[in-house]
Amino acid sequence: MPEVRIERLAKRFGTTVAVDEVSFTVENGSLAVLLGPSGCGKSTTLRLVAGLETASGGRILVDGRDVTGLPPPARGLAMVFQSYALFPHLDVARNITFGLEVRRVPKAERAARLREAAALLGLEGLLHRKPSELSGGQQQRVALARAIVAQARLCLMDEPLSNLDAKLRQEMRKEIRELQRRLGMTMLYVTHDQVEAMTMADRIVLLKDGRVEQVGTPAELYAKPATLFAAAFLGTPPMSLLALEDGPEGAVVAGSDVCVLPGRPGRGRVLGLRPESVRLAREGGHRAVIESVEFLGADSHLACRIGRERLLVRASGHLDLSTGAEIGLAWPESAVHLFDAGSGRRLEVV
């Protein structure tokens, strides 16, 4: 199984830069997710790796071999497309074995590999149906089977779950991850859904405007977002970001006299707090006004205001609080994230 190294990969369409010097590594047999909002260059990066687009610069190494200039079939990879790209005139079996037939794999072996892939994805009963006679989830499985049957060393996935409903998506997430582990595939997976990224990835490559924003495990990205963008993109609900100002005793939340970082400067800095690390203080704490309360069952989301800034608090259970009430909020020092407002970079809390 190959290791994939991307080195300063670039793609320009005319004057627009779609992928800007992107570098990252996907370990052997691991699953890496390219995550980012639409238009961030994640799909283009994947298509560059697949060979469906030609790179304007940089290198793609699979298992140490430079494949940047090779045509797609020479790269030894399989791909699952967002729209599944099943051939509408072929039945499920012929769709799965299309590549094997094209590559002139002997008939007996073709049949054996088809059986194996179909069993793996529970498609045995559907082999003679046409794609139009399948549900979205089943079509997705056929696309997966087609990727698996090739026994490719590397599997690329371009938002494979975005056409499925929420419940099915959750199931398929688990299933794809299990399959990837079981077959020891190296997988590069594109999504804009941070939940998908968090639950599936060994490593996340977070992209924004064609550049790598941060690379790391889901836990690393969550615990230590390197930029304001990473902080706001990961987590549901996302991290609250509060602009700071200089106050008499230290940094205060903009538009208030609530001192959150005593003895330290506030101007040009942004405070980040995860909703779950803020709690309601029994007494004292930082004063805030409740703007709205959302009861979700297991917990409640409180939208609070301090000065000009808003702060989300996740509290367990049902709270008997009303809009407009003043409360005290507290959080441990370790929960504080600090960013530079200008560059968006993470600052160490000193």
């Binding site: 697949a50 045509p71 797609p72 791909m79 051939f87 509408p88 299309f98 094209v102």
Partner: protein, 292 residues
């Protein structure tokens, strides 16, 4: 009450179309069918019931009819597949990213938008013996001068060439539209699986174009039996009926020889041919090649 008013509205709205269809399609077809059993009225001798006499005459007594049918079959057999294959090839070409693609598309489509008489005049010039373009080329290579439209051996073939030239561009538009309806991701998927462009065309694109091929095929076949303008403009069926086609023969029988009874019987034959093509389409082909 409400419902009956609705129904009246419905009928009123449908009325113009119903009237037109009945007056100019259904009634003439039925009348031709009935007339085909009656003799042509002449002077003082009124029309008489003759049963299947006209049909017997076609098969036994009318070598021109047999010649015309044969001509028309040959015409369909050659022009339909040739123009379809040509249309497909042209569509595949102009669907690629080639240079001056718009211009090439336009060039291919030009023959279709030319009025038939204009096109016929161009080709009449090409075919002219002596100084026509084709004969100038032939004589330049030391080949004998040929009267393309005036000789029994070449007249029908010369008309066929014009038909193919004119139809292929028209059918190309359908293929081009169908090709552009195929999601590009299918070719990408095929490429990743190791399929060359040729393999993709043969195993994915062509099967997906089958519904279009059927549509074009049926239209081309029906068209081949309805052709009259090419013949009128270029050869008048001659020489010696070598380039006469069924509809042209019907026209001549009805409006030059005024043998309306026989012309009605010939029309019924034409309707049968056209009807059976349509039935064949619906019955056999339609079901087999639609995927979605």
């Amino acid at each position: 009450m409400e419902r009956s008013i609705q129904a009246i509205y419905g009928w009123l709205l449908a009325l113009p179309a119903c009237l037109l269809l009945a007056a100019f399609t259904h009634w003439p077809a039925l009348a031709s069918f009935l007339d085909s059993f009656w003799s042509t009225p002449k002077g003082r001798r009124p029309s008489q019931f003759v049963g299947l006499d006209h049909y017997r005459r076609m098969l036994v007594d009318d070598p021109i009819f047999l010649q015309v049918i044969w001509n028309n079959l040959l015409y369909a057999l050659i022009t339909v597949p040739t123009s379809i294959l040509l249309a497909l090839a042209m569509a595949l070409l102009v669907n690629e990213r080639i240079r001056a693609r718009g211009l090439v598309r336009l060039a291919y489509f030009t023959p279709t938008v030319l009025p038939m008489v204009a096109a016929a005049n161009i080709w009449l010039f090409f075919y002219t013996p002596g100084y026509g373009l084709l004969n100038q080329i032939l004589t330049a290579f030391g080949l004998p001068d040929t009267n393309f439209l005036g000789s029994r051996d070449t007249a029908l073939w010369s008309v066929m060439v014009v038909t193919i030239w004119k139809e292929a561009g028209f059918f190309m538009i359908f293929y081009l539209a169908a090709l552009q309806a195929i999601p590009p991701v299918l070719e990408e998927a095929a490429r990743l699986e190791g399929a060359s462009h040729f393999v993709y065309l043969r195993r994915v694109a062509l099967p997906l174009l089958m519904p279009t091929t059927l549509f074009v095929l049926v239209n081309a076949l029906i068209g081949a039996f309805r052709v009259v303008d090419h013949v009128v403009a270029m050869t008048q069926g001659g020489p010696d009926n070598a380039s006469a086609l069924l509809l042209f023969y019907i026209y001549e029988t009805a409006f030059r020889f005024w043998d309306t009874g026989y012309a009605a019987a010939l029309t019924v034959v034409l309707l049968l041919v056209l009807g059976s093509i349509s039935v064949a389409q619906v019955r056999f082909l339609d079901r087999r090649i639609h995927y979605r």
